[in-house]
């Protein structure tokens, strides 16, 4: 079983190879499918279905399944596509697997950097994930996974922050003009 931070680890691996110049661009993603074995474990179910079988269909796509994809590019690769603006810039990326107490500094946008919640430091990864959850509380992404830990959840939080920060900055620009 891969760790729940596999999405962030993949992001860190892609970032490392772009920083070293080995790659110019990479498609990095975290995916996950809720399978029937997970739903049979009571501790992985939501509280309301803790004592009974969850009413998930067996043949259709189950709730909690999802995929998040980032496209990482070096500055040189982005400059070749002159008309395209990046949604965010990767400043640093830490892997939970190697350093348990490392704080999330994975992705940053001007709006997200100035957010007071983003600046706080928490020593534990769950606190950091809750920090992201609080930061994206009003966003579209609503994790409905039966199990709490999934590889795509931190990646989805980052994607939601990136998309919303851009929406907020564009609306602010429209307001100023």
């Amino acid at each position: 079983m891969a760790p729940a931070t596999a999405g962030l680890d993949a992001l860190a691996a892609g970032l490392f190879r772009i920083q070293t110049g080995e790659w110019d661009r990479a498609i990095v993603g975290a995916r996950g499918i809720t399978n029937p074995y997970q739903l049979r474990l009571p501790r992985l179910r939501p509280l309301r279905w803790r004592n009974s079988a969850p009413p998930f269909p067996t043949r259709r796509l189950r709730r909690g399944s999802g995929a998040v994809t980032f496209i990482l590019e070096s500055r040189r690769s982005l400059e070749q596509r002159a008309l395209v603006a990046a949604r965010g810039r990767v400043l640093a990326c830490s892997s939970f697997r190697s350093r348990n107490n490392a704080r999330i500094a994975a992705l940053s946008t001007p709006r997200a950097r100035s957010h007071p919640l983003f600046r706080q430091r928490h020593p534990h990864r769950h606190a950091e994930l809750s920090l992201f959850r609080r930061a994206i509380a009003r966003l579209r992404y609503r994790p409905s996974t039966p199990h709490r830990e999934s590889s795509r959840r931190p990646a989805a939080s980052i994607a939601a922050v990136l998309r919303t920060a851009e929406c907020r900055s564009s609306s602010a620009t429209a307001f100023k003009t």
Partner: protein, 88 residues
């Protein structure tokens, strides 16, 4: 193709559209792929063994052959005709 791969390809296609990449073939020429999953492997294993449990006649060798390279990065590499490495 499993749901895991379908979701992965759909998310990747949306990301390419969002990044305004018109010529995906040229972009993927030197583009590598990383795919992370925590429990997706169990999903397609379950698909194979669930059929096996109902009878050996219902076991499909093609399903097993799909499950072996059923990494999303590999399918993404095939979809985009990428020549760069794909990791999982």
């Amino acid at each position: 193709m499993s749901d895991y791969v379908k979701l992965s390809l759909a998310a990747s296609a949306l990301a390419l559209i969002d990044a305004q990449i018109a010529d995906t073939t040229a972009f993927a020429e030197t583009c590598s792929a990383f795919s992370a999953a925590r429990m997706a492997r169990r999903n397609y294993s379950h698909t194979y063994y669930a059929r096996s449990s109902t009878g050996i006649d219902r076991r499909q060798s093609m399903l097993f052959a799909e499950g072996v390279p059923n990494a999303a990065a590999a399918h993404l590499s095939l979809m985009l005709s990428s020549k760069a490495p794909a990791n999982r």
